[in-house]
């Protein structure tokens, strides 16, 4: 059933003269999932990159058409599984927007706290994985040390470590665990102490800097044209943090900076993410002692019905802008739902960024794009 005739045609015959076509993926150590890139090489230099997607396409958009407004949220945890919580948040926000549900303050703050913890966890995993792409194995274990604390907090509060499913339209599914504040504070202290280790091991490493500086450059104009978002756009100096542009939940009551860099290379994307983790810590510190008392969930009907119309909500996930576009016909299930995934647009810029560089640079570029394949395929 799964004959990829076109791909076979591409790879058996060596392209034109002086060209070597290699398949990176669907199983490859650097693609972190089932991404398939058909790369045309001239020696070590890349001439063209052609992504082939769909190896983990589950048609979540079609599935959601037959699930009601409470159920479909949980399917989206399986899109960008590293920021599952933020995906759920986007869906919940969209439903709330349509139903005009007023979310209690406590729920808003809890959502933001969890979203920022998720962001740190995601960036930590990315940091380790990217270092591994460049051949350094050790940072992976150091980043997982702190990430483990976050997953423990998640497990205690939501009952799951990766796909949390903690959101529901109108708030969160249940209240915080009593140890939550204590554990988060502990984590913040440890993280601040240990973050210097990454600096020593990675940021100031000569080889690392040589591998990433000036590699995979994307100009601001191109970043906008390719629809890049998140750290990829911000590393090129494009203002794109939706937490600032269109504050949702409790982001309007916290102070933080949108991290921008103007270099647009892999190193800039690295620095942006590392600084973003520190901003997330800043947000957590502001909120952790100020969780308002009250309900953690608004009173909602058992069966949710969105009025006829179209609703679009967008949030800033760890990878960029996630949009949820719901077209409702007034029923209990969405008529059509579209997820605008950040990875899809970022991937489309890969050919532009990596063509003309070496294979080694491709790994640096791809690593700093932070691609999560289920997010791209959906």
């Amino acid at each position: 059933m799964y004959t990829q005739t076109e791909i076979i045609k591409d790879t058996t015959g060596i392209g034109s003269e002086g060209e070597l076509v290699i398949n990176v993926g669907p199983q490859h150590p650097a693609t972190h999932g089932v991404l398939h890139l058909v790369i045309t090489l001239n020696g070590e230099t890349i001439k063209k990159i052609e992504p082939h997607l769909g190896y983990i396409h589950r048609s979540i958009e079609k599935m959601c058409e037959s699930l009601n407004y409470r159920q479909f949220i949980y399917v989206t945890s399986r899109m960008d599984y590293l920021s599952a919580h933020i995906n759920n948040q986007a869906c919940a926000l969209c439903v709330e927007k349509g139903m005009q549900i007023e979310v209690p303050d406590r729920a808003k703050v809890i959502r933001v706290l969890m979203a920022e913890l998720t962001r740190i966890a995601s960036h930590e995993l990315w940091l380790g994985a990217m270092a591994m792409d460049l051949g350094a194995f050790t940072p992976f274990f150091y980043t997982f040390r702190e990430r483990e604390l976050i997953t423990d907090i998640m497990e205690e509060t939501c009952g799951a470590r990766l796909t949390m499913n903690y959101m529901t339209p109108g708030g969160v599914t249940f209240d915080l665990h009593e140890d939550f504040q204590k554990k988060v504070k502990q984590f913040v202290i440890q993280f601040k102490e240990k973050v210097t280790e990454f600096e020593d091991l990675v940021t100031n490493n000569v080889i690392f800097r040589n591998r990433t500086e000036g590699v995979g450059i994307i100009s601001p104009a191109d970043a906008i044209s390719y629809g890049c978002s998140g750290p990829v756009a911000r590393a090129s100096g494009v203002v794109s943090d939706l937490r600032k542009i269109a504050p949702y939940d409790a982001y309007d009551r916290v102070e933080f900076e949108e991290v921008l860099d103007t270099r647009g290379d892999s190193f800039a994307r690295y620095i942006v993410r590392v600084k973003e983790m520190m901003q997330s810590i800043r947000i957590i510190e502001q909120l952790i002692d100020n969780i308002p008392e009250g309900d953690f969930q608004a009173k909602t009907k058992a069966v949710l019905k969105l009025p006829k119309g179209e609703f679009y909500s967008r949030v800033e996930t760890a990878r960029g802008e996630l949009g949820v576009y719901i077209v409702s016909e007034g029923g209990t299930t969405p008529y059509r739902i579209k997820f605008r995934s950040p990875g899809f647009s970022n991937l489309s810029a890969l050919d532009h960024m990596a063509s003309g560089s070496k294979i080694g640079d491709l790994m640096a570029t791809m690593g700093t794009l932070d691609l999560v394949i289920p997010d791209i395929d959906r």
Binding site: M1, Y226, R314, G323, R336, S345
Partner: protein
């Protein structure tokens, strides 16, 4: 730039366009034929709509609607939604991937999931589905007795 100013600008560029302001953002409906021209003008307007952040399609059974969500990198608060009705039997519209490069992949996705043909697209091939896949899975009339479970 207010909604009124945008409306004025679009009316001057595409006289047939109609507007709908009931939703969160300004909705603009255009004829498929005049879309490409309007897209060029929107991209090069005083406040350039240079950020195409979502491109999708909705199957309304009688017809298809291609939906473009546009924003400006100069002011991300301003968003507009452009819609274009297409004939379900022969859905065709001009590509915009020379204006917004992200459209290249987004149009390929819409092409294979909805069967919308984007005219003059440089590389309109399948991106996600296998080559021998039949039908357009996100259309409402798509049936797959093996893999689809009716709830």
């Amino acid at each position: 730039m207010t909604n009124e100013a945008i409306k004025e600008f679009i009316t001057s560029a595409a006289p047939t366009a109609s507007f709908d302001e009931t939703g969160e953002w300004l909705n603009i409906s255009v004829e498929p034929g005049s879309w490409k021209d309007l897209a060029h003008k929107l991209r090069n307007a005083e406040l350039p709509f240079d950020y195409l952040f979502c491109l999708t399609c909705v199957d309304w059974k009688t017809h298809l609607t291609v939906v473009y969500h546009l924003s400006s990198s100069k002011n991300r608060q301003i968003n507009i939604v452009v819609k274009s009705k297409l004939d379900a039997a022969k859905p065709e519209i001009e590509t915009v991937c020379d204006i917004w490069r992200t459209a290249e992949f987004l149009e390929r996705e819409v092409f294979e999931l909805f069967g919308v043909v984007f005219l003059n697209h440089p590389d309109l091939r399948r991106l996600i589905l296998t080559d021998d896949f039949e039908g357009f899975p996100l259309r409402k009339d798509f049936e797959d007795p093996i893999n689809m479970i009716k709830l």
